[in-house]
C-alpha cells in the first residue's frame, strides 16, 4: 500500500487501524491478566496453610474481588475483542472495521477505567471488597467510600463494550465480501456477531444495577434496602440478568476460536457448521432465561426453582452438540498436534468437565450443598480458565505467525502448554474436593481438615502462574527473533480468507474485496 503506520507513540494513540487496535487490546488484556493473576497468587499464598500469614482478612476480600473484576472485565473480555479486531475484517474480506474512530475510542477509555478501579487499592478504605458479584447491601450501605470509583469504572467498561459491539455488528452486517452469505461466515465471526448482540442487551442492565447502587449510596434511595421498602434480592436478579449472559459473552468467542483450530489441525472441514450456528444462537437465547440458578438459596418460591432448574439443564443440549461436533471433526481426520491444537484439545476436555459440574450445580436440591462452596469455584474456573483463557492462548499461537510473519518456538511452546495444563488441573481439581467436603468460597482462612488440598491447590497455582510468564517470554521472543515464515497459509490445513493474505499481514488489507464462491 501507499502508506504504512505513523511513526512514534502517535501511531498507537491516534490509530484507526483494526490491526493496531487489536494489538493494543491484546497487550492491554495480557497486562490485566498478569495483574489479576498476581492477585490470585496472593490469594493462593495466603491459603497455602491455615491461619493468617501474609495479609489481613479485609485485604483478602479486596484481592478476591479485584481478581474477579480484573480477570472478567480486564483480561478475558478485551482479549477476545482484540482477536475480533484483528481477525473479523480479515475473515470477511473487509479493509477495516466499519467505525474506525469509535474503535479507537472504545479501546482508549479502557485503561482509564482500570486505572480508576486499581487506584482504589492505594486509597483510604481500600479497593472493592464485596466480591466480583458485589451483592447489596455489602456493596452499598456497608461498602468503603471507594465503591464510587468502582461504579464509574464499570460504567466506562460498559460504554467501551457497547461501542465495540456496535462496531462488530456494523462491520459484520455491512462489510462482508461479495458472495459471503451469513451461512458462509467463519464460525469465529458468527460467535462474535451473536456475542455482540448479547453485550448490547446486557451491558445497560449492568449499568442500571451500578446506577441504582450509586443512588442508594449517595442520594438516599432504597432500591436494595429493605428498611426503605427496597429489596436486596432485587439486586441479585438485576445483576444475574446481566451476569449469566456475561459468561456466554466470554465463552462464545472461545467456541469460535476452537471451531477454527480443530479443523485446521485435523485437515478436515468443521463438522456440522449449520448446527454449530444454531447451537450458538440457542445458547445465547437460553442465557437470558436462566439467571436465577445463581440464586437457588435466596428463598424463591418452589415454582421458580423448578423452572430455573429445568431451563438451565436445557443449555446442556446445544453445548453438548458443540462438543460432539468438535470430536466428529477430529474423527477420521489427519491430525497433527502443534501447540494451538494441544490447547484446543485441552479446551474440549476441560471445558466438558466444567460443563459436567455445570449440570450438577444446575440441580436445585443438590445445589443446596454445592452453592457458594469451592465446588463452584472449581466449576467456573474450568469454564473460564480452561475455556476462555486456554482458547485465547491457542488463538495467539495459531494466529501470531500470520500476524508478525515469525514462527514461535514449538518445543518451548509445548513445554508452556504442559506446565499450564498440569498446573491448571493441580490448582482447580482439588477445589472440587474442598467444596464437596464443605469449604465455602471467599474464605480468608479455613478449618484444619481442608489444609492438604489447599496446599496442593496453591502449589498448582504457582505453577500455572509461572507458565504465563513463560508464555509472555515466548511471544516476545517470537515477535523479535522468531524464524521468519512467508507462505500465506502458515498452517497446512488452514482455510479461510485470512490465509489468502501475505504473511506477515500488510498494514492495509482487502482494499479491493475478494470474491467468495
Amino acid at each position: 500500500m501507499a502508506h504504512g503506520p505513523a511513526k512514534g507513540i502517535g501511531r498507537w494513540l491516534f490509530t484507526t487501524n483494526h490491526k493496531d487496535i487489536g494489538t493494543l487490546y491484546l497487550w492491554f488484556s495480557f497486562a490485566m491478566f498478569l495483574l489479576g493473576g498476581s492477585f490470585a497468587m496472593i490469594i493462593r499464598a495466603e491459603l497455602f496453610e491455615p491461619g493468617m500469614q501474609i495479609i489481613r482478612p479485609e485485604f483478602f476480600n479486596q484481592m478476591t474481588t479485584m481478581h474477579g473484576l480484573v480477570m472478567v472485565f480486564g483480561a478475558i473480555m478485551p482479549a477476545f475483542v482484540g482477536l475480533a479486531n484483528w481477525m473479523i475484517p480479515m475473515m470477511i474480506g473487509a479493509p477495516d472495521m466499519a467505525l474506525p474512530r469509535m474503535n479507537n475510542l472504545s479501546f482508549w477509555i479502557l485503561p482509564f477505567a482500570f486505572a480508576l478501579m486499581a487506584s482504589t487499592l492505594f486509597m483510604e478504605g481500600g479497593a472493592p471488597n464485596f466480591g466480583w458479584t458485589f451483592y447489596a447491601p455489602l456493596s452499598t450501605t456497608y461498602a468503603p467510600d471507594t465503591v464510587n470509583f468502582f461504579i464509574f469504572a464499570v460504567h466506562i467498561m460498559g460504554a467501551s463494550s457497547i461501542m465495540g459491539s456496535i462496531n462488530i455488528i456494523a462491520t459484520v452486517l455491512n462489510m462482508r465480501a461479495p458472495g459471503m452469505t451469513l451461512m458462509k461466515m467463519p464460525m469465529f465471526v458468527w460467535t462474535w456477531l451473536i456475542t455482540a448482540f448479547l453485550l448490547i442487551a446486557v451491558m445497560p442492565v449492568l449499568a442500571g444495577a451500578v446506577t441504582m447502587m450509586l443512588m442508594d449510596i449517595n442520594f438516599g434511595t432504597s432500591f436494595f434496602d429493605a428498611a426503605g421498602g427496597g429489596d436486596p434480592v432485587l439486586f441479585q436478579h438485576v445483576f444475574w440478568f446481566f451476569g449469566h449472559p456475561e459468561v456466554y459473552i466470554i465463552i462464545l468467542p472461545a467456541f469460535g476460536v476452537i471451531s477454527h483450530i480443530i479443523p485446521t489441525f485435523s485437515r478436515k472441514p468443521l463438522f456440522g457448521y449449520s448446527s454449530m450456528v444454531y447451537a450458538t444462537a440457542s445458547i445465547a437465547f437460553l442465557s437470558f432465561i436462566v439467571w436465577a440458578h445463581h440464586m437457588f438459596l435466596v428463598g424463591m418460591p418452589i415454582g421458580g426453582e423448578l423452572y430455573f432448574m429445568y431451563a438451565t439443564m436445557l443449555i446442556a443440549i446445544p453445548t453438548a452438540a458443540k462438543v460432539f461436533n468438535w470430536i466428529s471433526t477430529m474423527f477420521r481426520g489427519s491430525m497433527t498436534f502443534e501447540t494451538p491444537m494441544l490447547f484446543a484439545i485441552a479446551f474440549v476436555i476441560l471445558f466438558t468437565i466444567g460443563g459436567f459440574t455445570g449440570v450438577m450445580v444446575a440441580i436445585a436440591p443438590a445445589d443446596v450443598q454445592y452453592h457458594d462452596s469451592y465446588f463452584v469455584v472449581a466449576h467456573f474456573h474450568y469454564v473460564m480458565v480452561a475455556g476462555a483463557v486456554f482458547s485465547g492462548t491457542a488463538a495467539v499461537y495459531y494466529w501470531l505467525p500470520k500476524w508478525c510473519g515469525r514462527m514461535y518456538d514449538e518445543s518451548m511452546a509445548k513445554v508452556q502448554f504442559w506446565v499450564s495444563f498440569v498446573g491448571f488441573n493441580v490448582t482447580f481439581f482439588p477445589q472440587h474436593f474442598l467444596g464437596l467436603a464443605g469449604m465455602p468460597r471467599r474464605y480468608a482462612d479455613y478449618a484444619l481438615q481442608f489444609s492438604d488440598w489447599n496446599m496442593v491447590s496453591s502449589i498448582g497455582a504457582f505453577m500455572y502462574g509461572a507458565s504465563q510468564l513463560l508464555f509472555l517470554f515466548i511471544v516476545i521472543r517470537t515477535i523479535r527473533s522468531g524464524t521468519p515464515v512467508s507462505e500465506p497459509k502458515v498452517w497446512e490445513g488452514a482455510e479461510g480468507l485470512e490465509w489468502t493474505l501475505a504473511t506477515p499481514v500488510p498494514y492495509h488489507t482487502f482494499s479491493t474485496p475478494p470474491e467468495v464462491k
Binding site: 447491601p137 429493605a226 463438522f271 429445568y310 481426520g333 450443598q369 493441580v426 474464605y443 478449618a447
Partner: protein, 382 residues
C-alpha cells in the same frame, strides 16, 4: 458404604490427586483428604447425596464415551500414522441422535431432583421453631415461644488465627455457645439477617439458606443421630466471613429438655443482674471482655478502627462526649452505616460495661460509669 464410595470417587475423579492420597489413607487421614460430599445425618442430606452420586456417575459414563472416541481418534487418525483425512462434514442422523439422548438423560435426572426439592421445601408440621438471625459476624438463635435467645460466635482465639499459638482440633469450627436441638424432631428454621446477607450452612444436615436483611427465609431439618455437627457462613459478608462458624449440638430428647429448662434459669439470672450496681473496675473488666467479643472486629482492640472504613473510638467525640448520645449509638445503631443496633443483641449488663469501657479505655478517661439500670431506663424511655 460412603467411605468406599469416596475411594471410588477419588480413583475415577482424581488419577493425579489420588497418587498423593493413596498409600496413606489412614483412618484419621481419611477426613483430611476427603474428596466427596458427606452422606450426612438427615433424610434430605441422604437424598441429595444420592442425586449427587447419580449425576456424578452419569457424567463419568458420558465422559468415558466422549473422551474415548476423542482419544481413539487422536491415536488412530494421526498424520504421523499416515491417516488421510475424510471429507464428511455433516450427518443429520447423528446430530438428531446426540440431541435426543442428552435430552432424555436430563429428563431422567430431573425426576429425583424434583421430588427431593419438594422435600427440601416442605416446612409444614414442624415440631419446633428456631429463629436464626445473622449479624456481622455471629449468629443469634431464638427458641420461639421459649424466651430463650443467645448469641453464638467464634471461640477460636486470635492467637491461633495469627499463628502465635498452636491450632486446636476444631480451629475456626468452635463457638461460644452451640445451637442445641433434639434428635428425630422436625425443627423449622426461620432465617434472617440484620446487616448484610449471610448464609447458614451445615453440610451434614444439607441445610443451607441465605439470611437476608428484611426478609425471613424458611427451611427445616430432622436429625437422625445425636452428635456435634459443624458448619459455616456461606455468603460473603465482609472481613469476618470465614470467622462465624456454626456448631449444632444434637441431643436425645430428654437431655434436650433438661438443657432447655437450665437455659431458662440462666436467662432469668442474667436479667436479675440488671438491677445491680457495679463499680467502675468491675464494669471495665467486663467491658473489655465484651468489647473484644462484639466491637473489636471493626473498631479494633486498640480502639483505632480501620481508617476510611470503621471509625476509631480512641479520643472520639462520641466516646468522650454526651453519654446519652453514646448510648443511643450503641443501642440503636446508626442507620445507613455498618454500625449495628446492639440493643437487641446484648444484655443491659454487657451494654453498660462496653459503654463504660469505651469511655475510659485508650486514654479516653472520662471517669463515667454507666450502670445496667441506666441502659434499661434509656431503652424504656425511648
Amino acid at each position: 458404604m460412603s467411605r468406599r464410595a469416596n475411594m471410588l470417587f477419588a480413583l475415577v475423579l482424581a488419577p493425579v490427586m489420588s497418587l498423593a492420597a493413596s498409600g496413606k489413607v489412614l483412618a484419621e487421614e481419611a477426613q483430611r483428604w476427603a474428596v466427596n460430599m458427606p452422606r450426612g445425618v438427615t433424610s434430605v442430606s441422604n437424598a441429595i447425596y444420592d442425586i449427587h452420586m447419580i449425576a456424578f456417575w452419569i457424567c463419568v459414563v458420558i465422559g468415558i464415551g466422549v473422551f474415548g472416541v476423542m482419544f481413539y481418534s487422536m491415536y488412530a487418525h494421526r498424520k504421523s500414522r499416515g491417516a488421510v483425512a475424510a471429507n464428511f462434514h455433516e450427518n443429520t442422523t447423528a446430530e438428531v441422535v446426540w440431541t435426543i439422548i442428552p435430552a432424555l438423560i436430563l429428563i431422567v435426572m430431573c425426576i429425583p431432583a424434583t421430588s427431593t426439592l419438594l422435600k427440601v421445601y416442605d416446612t409444614s408440621e414442624a415440631e419446633m421453631d428456631i429463629k436464626i438471625t445473622a449479624y456481622q459476624w455471629k449468629w443469634q438463635y431464638e427458641y420461639l415461644g421459649e424466651e430463650v435467645v443467645f448469641m453464638s460466635e467464634l471461640a477460636t482465639p486470635e492467637t491461633e488465627i495469627y499463628n502465635t499459638a498452636p491450632k486446636s482440633q476444631y480451629y475456626l469450627q468452635e463457638v461460644s455457645e452451640p445451637l442445641v436441638i433434639p434428635v428425630n424432631t422436625k425443627v423449622r428454621f426461620l432465617i434472617t439477617a440484620k446487616d448484610v446477607i449471610h448464609s447458614w450452612w451445615v453440610p451434614d444436615f444439607a441445610v443451607k439458606k441465605d439470611a437476608i436483611p428484611g426478609m425471613v427465609n424458611e427451611t427445616w431439618t430432622s436429625v437422625d443421630e445425636p452428635g456435634v455437627y459443624r458448619g459455616e457462613c456461606a455468603e460473603l459478608c465482609g472481613q469476618g466471613h470465614a470467622f462465624m462458624p456454626i456448631v449444632v449440638n444434637v441431643l436425645e430428647k430428654e437431655e434436650y429438655n433438661a438443657w432447655l429448662s437450665e437455659k431458662k434459669i440462666e436467662v432469668a439470672a442474667i436479667r436479675e443482674l440488671t438491677k445491680k450496681t457495679f463499680t467502675l473496675d468491675e464494669l471495665m473488666a467486663k467491658g473489655e471482655e465484651a468489647y473484644n467479643r462484639s466491637c473489636a472486629s471493626c473498631h479494633m482492640a486498640n480502639g483505632e478502627g480501620i481508617p476510611g472504613v470503621f471509625p476509631g473510638l480512641k479520643g472520639s467525640a462520641v466516646a468522650t462526649g454526651d453519654i446519652s448520645k453514646h448510648l443511643d449509638m450503641v443501642v440503636n445503631g446508626v442507620a445507613g452505616t455498618a454500625m449495628q443496633a446492639f440493643g437487641g443483641q446484648l444484655s443491659e449488663v454487657d451494654l453498660a460495661a462496653i459503654i463504660t469501657y469505651e469511655r475510659n479505655a485508650w486514654g479516653n478517661d472520662t471517669g463515667d460509669a454507666v450502670q445496667p439500670i441506666d441502659v434499661l431506663k434509656f431503652k424504656q424511655g425511648q
